[in-house]
């Protein structure tokens, strides 16, 4: 192999751990990585390990009951098991493989990973996102109480502290539990809606850019049309048309209006990729147009797609919050961050905690996605890479 990209800071000390490092990682996953300064991966696995372990120990009864419970309880219990095994297994694997294979910069992806790791604030953002999703998955195990259950009326509008760490709202519901359950709504909407939009955007953009001609003209005029239509109006109309606003409807509407940006980015990239010599070589090898578009063109334009997707998640979460704030999102009592802010608005003076904490959750998550998006842009753009 070439000696391209052996990271001196990585190979020496880790190797020195030898079998001791493997044993150490079996006891505390992430610790050996942390000790040699790989704080990103080390810290993440340590935090995940500790967090899930404490969930397992303190909520053992719920964890055990989870296997027979509803789907989200099953998923939560499964996440705990998979997370613990994953953190432990990964750390062990990371320590037991030879130092060279860990840090040789092979493909452009591993180069990008190394560039991304240098950007500390983006790594913190990634850790916040990973934490967000983990919390959303294990919410049924960790939430202090049911988000929709009303406590006795005497405990309305209680300030944070004591029995209710983040206070209660005007219906005596626990704000912390509602934020935890709300995370599932916001994050899954962000994830699914962006999944839909990125899939549509990438395929349409690649086909339109590669084929050109009338296909390109039709697709791009369609993009212009979708972009020119005010999105909020469309969302309000759809919300009005369907009386029951299920989460899937919101995901679909957000997803199916989000794609034009991705399409334009992908088309622009494809226009330059298709002129590269390896595409002509692929045609000379008798590859079909479909194979060239999906197997050769799209992998070359994935970098901007990933950036757009990451930034898009933040965008969609804000949109959903706005929609819920306007009362057009999910029906109460389903908790969503946006609707919590909306409900807390009336009590802003007397009970600031109702709107503030979900608002902070939105800000924290969206900022994390934007930080990761910016970090990815720097890491994936070879022109910015030194």
């Amino acid at each position: 192999m070439t000696d391209v990209g052996i990271d001196a800071s990585d190979s020496g000390p880790l190797h020195a751990f030898g079998r001791g490092g493997v044993a150490l990682s079996a006891v505390l996953p992430g610790l050996p990585q942390l000790m040699v300064g790989r704080w990103g991966v080390g810290g993440t696995s340590l935090i995940v390990w500790f967090g899930l372990l404490s969930v397992l120990l303190t909520r053992w009864a719920r964890f055990a009951a989870g296997w027979g419970g509803p789907l989200d309880h099953k998923i939560a219990s499964l996440t705990v098991v998979a997370g613990l095994l994953g953190a432990w297994g990964w750390s062990w694997f990371d320590m037991s493989r030879p130092a060279e294979s860990r840090s040789i910069g092979v493909g452009q992806w591993s180069l990008a990973v190394r560039a991304f790791r240098k950007n500390r604030i983006a790594v913190v953002g990634l850790m916040v996102i990973v934490g967000d999703y983990l919390i959303a998955l294990v919410t049924p195990l960790i939430a202090p109480r049911d988000p929709a259950t009303l406590a006795p009326l005497s405990s309305r509008l209680l300030a944070p502290g004591g029995e209710f760490p983040l206070g209660t709202d005007h219906l005596a519901r626990d704000v912390l539990s509602r934020i935890l359950y709300g995370a599932r709504i916001s994050l899954s909407i962000g994830f699914v809606a962006v999944g839909i939009s990125v899939t549509i955007g990438t395929v349409l953009g690649a086909v339109s850019g590669y084929l050109g001609g009338w296909v390109d003209a039709v697709v791009m005029r369609f993009v212009d049309m979708v972009i020119s239509f005010p999105r909020l109006v469309l969302l309000i109309i759809v919300a009005a048309l369907f009386s029951s606003n299920s989460i899937f409807l919101i995901m679909a509407v957000l997803g199916f209006t989000q794609w034009p940006g991705t399409t334009r980015i992908v088309r622009g990239e494809v226009l330059s990729v298709r002129e590269r010599e390896f595409i002509e070589a692929a045609r000379a090898l008798g590859f079909s147009r479909r194979r060239i578009i999906f197997r050769h063109v799209i992998p070359n334009v994935l970098a901007p797609v990933i950036i757009a997707a990451t930034l898009g998640v933040g965008n969609v979460i804000v949109l959903e919050a706005g929609l819920s704030f306007l009362g057009l999102g999910l029906q109460p009592p389903t908790p969503s961050w946006g609707s919590m802010v909306s409900e807390g608005r009336a009590f802003m003076i007397d009970a600031w905690w109702i709107a503030t904490f979900p608002g902070l959750a939105i800000v924290l998550t969206v900022v994390a996605f934007n930080l990761v998006g910016d970090g990815l842009r720097d890491a994936l753009d070879p022109r910015l890479r030194v």
């Binding site: 092979v106 590269r276 045609r283 000379a284 090898l285 008798g286 590859f287 079909s288 197997r295 050769h296």
Partner: protein, 336 residues
């Protein structure tokens, strides 16, 4: 029956400035197992000829004009359906390109790219394809092929990548390999190695080679026969030794005269005066006449077809100097 027979190939491009007649009536033959060189300067239509053979001309703006014919193994490629063309490309006819650094997909390992061809055209399983791919890398002279197989293009040098391209081109045992300036982007020592490799592989696989180059040195080393192109047309054909020792067309003479020789350090290199005219409007008559020191009125009126030269040895040249009915015909002497 020749392996490849191109007859009166005309490939035109529609541009804003008009119709560019990039290839304008090219006819050539490649026999099985032989090496034919196409030589000419930039813009003479060599590459477009090669791309036309594989039907890789982007349409529009390009178009192969009706009346052209490209027969491969007695099959008319200009009438072949897209699916049939895809079967032929990379399988019966392979092509290697000028820039090895950019001819491979940067996001996949070289092994992945060899595998893809083997699996598509030869229907091998992933494991068989890997074994065959490593063998191919070894055959084209890549050291440690097993490890190189998992390298990405940016980890290899230009010469190595051109070997990989040759391995991919050879993977399906083509009967014709088109090499479009395969050594132009490489430095001189690597050029020689790649040419040697091409020649030895061509012999061991018994395939025909259509070598496109602007470098007469490459032609001299590799080719059996040569066609010289100028202005979208063939201006001279013949065996390599004949063309190099006794060029008959003034353009070929100019090309040879402009080669640097060994010894004459203080001699100024000769060049052909003027520049190549635009493909959008070739001059009437002979396309070389503005740059030709022999040109006379007749050259402005019309251009000849390829006229036989030198008593039936199969050599031809597109020049009135070789018109048997003209008084001035015969062997061209250097003007003093």
């Amino acid at each position: 029956m020749p392996l490849l027979e191109v007859t009166d190939l005309r490939t035109y491009f529609t541009t804003d400035a008009g119709v560019a007649r990039a290839v304008d009536g090219v006819s050539l033959r490649v026999e099985a197992g032989e090496t034919l060189g196409i030589v000419g300067e930039s813009g003479c239509g060599k590459t477009v000829t090669a791309l036309s053979i594989l039907r890789l001309i982007p349409t529009p703006p390009g178009e192969i004009v009706s009346g052209s014919s490209i027969r491969f193994n007695d099959e008319e490629l200009l009438k072949a359906k897209p699916a049939r063309l895809r079967e032929i490309r990379g399988n019966a006819i392979s092509m290697i390109f000028q820039e090895p650094m950019t001819s491979l997909n940067p996001v996949f390992t070289v092994g992945h790219q060899i595998e893809e061809v083997l699996r598509l055209h030869r229907g091998l399983s992933k494991r068989e394809a890997r074994a065959a791919g490593v063998d191919l890398l070894a055959e084209v002279g890549i050291p440690e092929p097993d490890q190189r197989y998992d390298c990405y293009p940016h980890q290899m040098s230009g010469g190595m990548l051109q070997r990989v391209m040759i391995a991919i081109a050879l993977s399906c045992e083509p009967s014709l390999l088109i090499a479009d300036e395969p050594t132009t982007a490489l430095d001189v020592t690597i050029q020689a190695q790649i040419l040697d490799l091409l020649v030895s592989l061509q012999r061991s696989h018994g395939m025909a080679l259509l070598l496109i180059t602007h470098d007469l040195g490459v032609i001299a080393e590799v080719c059996d026969r040569v066609v010289v192109m100028y202005g979208g047309q063939i201006v001279e054909t013949g065996t390599t030794s004949d063309i190099l020792t006794r060029p008959e067309h003034p353009y070929t003479q100019g090309l040879l005269a402009s080669l640097p020789g060994i010894g004459g350090r203080d001699v100024r290199l000769k060049s052909i005066p003027g520049t190549v005219p635009s493909a959008v409007d070739w001059p009437e008559g002979c396309r070389f006449r503005d740059r030709c020191s022999f040109a006379w009125e007749r050259c402005a009126e019309s251009a000849p077809d390829l006229l036989p030269v030198d008593g039936g040895s199969g050599r031809t040249a597109r020049c009135w100097l070789h018109d048997p009915d003209d008084g001035s015909s015969g062997r061209v002497e250097e003007p003093t």
